[in-house]
């Protein structure tokens, strides 16, 4: 039955050959090969650059968020003994002896500090337990259980041992758990952190909310500007375009600092208000170093990213659409809403996506003007990169942020279609 099409296929492919009898497909492939090779050669520099400076670091970052070699490498004997441990009562003397040996070795190889830091990220206070014990372990004698508990009482704590056991695997999920305010308890169950230590989930939420506000605000401010740009005669629109692009030519730091000068309580805006008598000198309002200041400064900084895609789309909307709508009997406003605005949707989509994605990863502006409630997730990533040196947690937070952006892009693609994205 289904032999028929097959034979047809083969007979057809036998027919399709060049004059001297070569299969046509092969001949075509050969002529295309040089072309393809040239194309690959042309993109090779960029491809290499992106791989080295972008893809590789991102992979490295994602790897760092789950890798955990320190404990496995430096406490191998302890971990082996702890494999059979029930996790409920204190482990046997065997475990203590193994830990003493491991700590002595780690001190010798100068890895003790890093090991201590790693354990301390998980359970506060373990740092001095590890380093302190390691200093004394040389002089310790069996039974090690008593000796170690005497050195640091935390060795008598089940939690200490379960932390060591939990951090045993070289690939772990604790960074991601910490990044969503969760962690393992002594029993090895995942549970929420103490209420006063929960921060990341609410901060992710606030980051999304503030980015949304910035996106909506820049859409409202950017749409009329883009419309004006697209409809003014070239002479004026060029000038206006320069004004829109001007912020790009100024350093981000300078722009943010000027907002501080403008909005701080002793700043220009407050001075003017007081001078106008709108309120007393003592009632000056706090406009910056809070969430509101962050939103204001970020909106101004990200506005061009909204205006440019909108403008490029509006520029392609022929004025005859509006005229046609009016001649067909629609009032100017009806024509605007039903004909003009729907045709700007690709621009609105592109601008909003661009601003939103830039906003959720924004760092400098919230760091400078965010004060206490205007901080975003990127500020905590920077904190863990620079201050606490908990790079694993920073990588996990960054990984979640990256995942969010990818999901957003996927959503946009399936709802609107990326091919309709117009960036100018």
């Amino acid at each position: 039955m289904d032999m028929a099409p097959k034979t047809l296929e083969t007979s057809r492919s036998e027919i399709l050959s060049t004059v001297d009898g070569q299969p046509l497909k092969k001949a075509l492939a050969r002529t295309e090969r040089t072309k393809r090779f040239k194309a690959i050669l042309l993109v090779a520099p960029l491809l290499t650059f992106i791989t080295v400076t972008f893809l590789y670091p991102i992979c490295l970052m994602l790897f760092r968020s789950v890798e955990n070699p320190l404990v496995a490498e430096n406490m191998p004997q302890t971990l082996e003994v702890l494999q059979k441990w029930d996790g409920k009562s204190l482990p046997s003397e065997l475990a203590f002896a193994a830990a003493a040996k491991d700590l002595a070795a780690a001190r010798k190889s100068k890895m003790i500090g890093r090991l201590a830091t790693r354990l301390n990220f998980e359970t506060s206070g373990l740092r001095s337990v590890i380093t302190g014990t390691a200093r004394k372990v040389k002089k310790m004698e069996a039974p090690f259980k008593e000796a170690m508990i005497q050195a640091r009482s935390q060795w008598g704590d089940v939690a200490t041992w379960s932390t060591i056991k939990r951090l045993g695997p070289t690939i772990i999920d604790v960074n991601y758990l910490a990044a969503v305010d969760r962690g393992y308890n002594v029993k090895g169950e995942i549970e929420l952190r103490d209420e006063d230590r929960r921060i990341y989930v609410s901060l992710f939420g606030r980051t999304l909310l503030m980015s949304l506000i910035v996106t909506v605000a820049s859409l409202f401010l950017g749409f009329p500007i883009a419309y004006l740009l697209a409809s003014l005669p070239l002479k004026y629109s060029n000038l206006l375009m320069i004004l829109v692009l001007l912020p790009f030519w100024t350093s981000l730091l300078v722009r943010t600092t000027s907002w501080i000068v403008l909005l701080q309580t002793q700043g220009v805006l407050n001075d003017v208000m007081v001078w106008l008598g709108l309120f007393e000198d003592e009632q000056r309002v706090q406009l910056i170093f809070n969430a509101q200041g962050t939103v204001i400064a970020m909106t101004q900084i990200l506005l061009p990213f909204m205006v440019l895609p909108l403008y490029s789309v509006m520029k392609t909307i022929h004025p005859s659409y509006m005229r046609a709508a009016e001649s067909l009997g629609a009032h100017r406003y009806t024509a605007y809403w039903r004909i003009y605005v729907p045709n700007t949707l690709p621009g609105i989509g592109a601008g909003s996506l661009l601003v939103f994605i830039l906003a959720i990863g924004y760092y400098i502006t919230p760091a400078l003007v965010g004060g206490q409630d205007g901080q975003m997730i990127s500020n905590l990533i920077a904190f863990h990169m620079q201050k606490s040196l908990n790079w694993g947690l920073a990588a996990a937070l960054g990984g979640i942020l990256l995942g969010g952006v990818v999901i957003l892009y996927w959503l946009y693609n399936s709802l609107v279609g990326v091919e309709r994205l117009k960036l100018g």
């Binding site: 005859s320 009016e326 067909l328 629609a330 009032h331 039903r338 004909i339 045709n343």
Partner: protein, 363 residues
């Protein structure tokens, strides 16, 4: 169909300037009767499109008055004028389907949903696109888009439809086909059409009347055949159809006729249409197909010897370029009939024409 004498659109002393320095439209007076197919024809920059835009309401009138069915519409916004319009680039809304495009003017007029469906269907049938209602404009060919644009301009039964060079983007064959389709729609519906084009053959094909524009002024307003046969001035003669133009000086005026001394030598008898007194300059207009080759001696008043320069075979006729009375580019169309004269390049022949076919116009 309708009362031809009833005036639908009237331009009264309309003037238009964009910059306050140059008048684009100079003192325009024009009447369009109900049921008319009036074409505004002229080269670009002649003011024809400006007139259309003023009529549609997209350009304010600088001076003068435009009335529609007796009502002045200078201050009526475009959406209240009830004028359908077809644009050069069709201006179909890209985010709506064909049917939605057609429904749009009905929706904004608050026509009931049921009625909309019926009328959209009828309009699509009219332009033979019943199967295409669900498509987006971008999925249609240029000709199909054009038909949708026409249907959309007609679907709300406007008294007047404006068309701004609607066929400019189509290829020649399709353009000719669309010319007939639009002409038939006009005839069937009896709607009044004001049509702008710079293509004279298009104007001749479709119009009941043609207004020839040049330099912001209507040069002549007449039905196509009159325009071709009896141009009022040298511009119209030159712009409509092919034309031989011979410059000379009026020597003598005898009633309807006159005698003209050509600059290149020779004296021609012509119909005095638009000339000054004796001694004034004039241009003689002579259609290439009205020239007879080797006429029977004495049958025509104007017979001159010509030197054949170039012969071009064009199937239905042979286009002949000759030198006559010092005029190098004198064109004669010799029909490819069974008895047509056989000519050869660089030979001498006699060309002759009648007084009626040779119109003395402004110099």
């Amino acid at each position: 169909m309708s009362d031809k004498s009833e005036v639908l659109v009237r331009f009264e002393s309309v003037q238009k300037s964009y910059d306050g320095e140059v008048l684009v439209v100079k003192n325009l007076n024009l009447e369009v009767a109900r049921g008319d197919f009036l074409t505004m024809l002229g080269p670009s920059g002649s003011g024809k499109t400006t007139c259309l835009m003023m009529l549609a309401g997209f350009e304010p009138v600088t001076h003068g008055k435009i009335t529609l069915a007796g009502q002045p519409i200078n201050n009526v916004p475009p959406h209240k004028r009830d004028i359908g319009m077809v644009f050069q680039n069709y201006a179909l809304f890209p985010h709506m389907s064909v049917a939605e495009n057609l429904a749009f003017p009905l929706q904004v007029r608050k026509v009931s949903k049921v009625d909309i469906e019926v009328r959209v269907k009828k309009a699509l049938e009219m332009v033979q696109l019943d199967q295409f209602g669900g498509r987006r404009p971008a999925q249609l060919s240029g000709g199909q888009q054009q038909r949708v644009a026409v249907a959309r301009a007609l679907v709300f039964d406007p008294a007047l439809v404006l068309m701004d060079e609607p066929l400019g983007a189509l290829d020649k064959q399709l353009r000719e086909q669309m010319q007939y389709e639009i002409k038939h729609i006009h005839e069937n519906l009896g709607v009044t059409v004001v049509y702008v084009t710079h293509d004279q053959s298009e104007a001749l094909t479709m119009s009941t009347r043609i207004a020839v524009f040049n330099d912001g002024v209507i040069q002549q307003l007449a039905p196509p055949n009159i325009l071709y046969e009896c141009p009022d001035n040298a511009f119209v003669a030159q712009f409509i159809g092919e034309n031989n133009s011979l410059s000379g000086t009026v020597k003598e005026v005898k009633g309807k006729n006159c005698v003209v001394d050509l600059d290149g030598g020779g004296t021609v008898q012509a119909l005095a249409v638009n000339i000054g007194g004796i001694g004034s300059r004039t241009k003689l207009s002579l259609r290439p197909e009205r020239v007879e080759v080797n006429p029977v001696s004495g049958s025509l008043p104007n017979v001159f010897e010509a030197n054949i320069k170039e012969l071009t075979y064009l199937g239905d006729h042979i286009r002949t370029r000759a030198c006559i009375c010092g005029q190098e580019n004198f064109i004669v169309k010799i029909p490819n009939a069974s008895h047509h004269a056989l000519l050869h390049e660089n030979t001498k022949v006699q060309f002759g024409w009648s007084i009626e076919d040779c119109r003395a116009l402004d110099g």
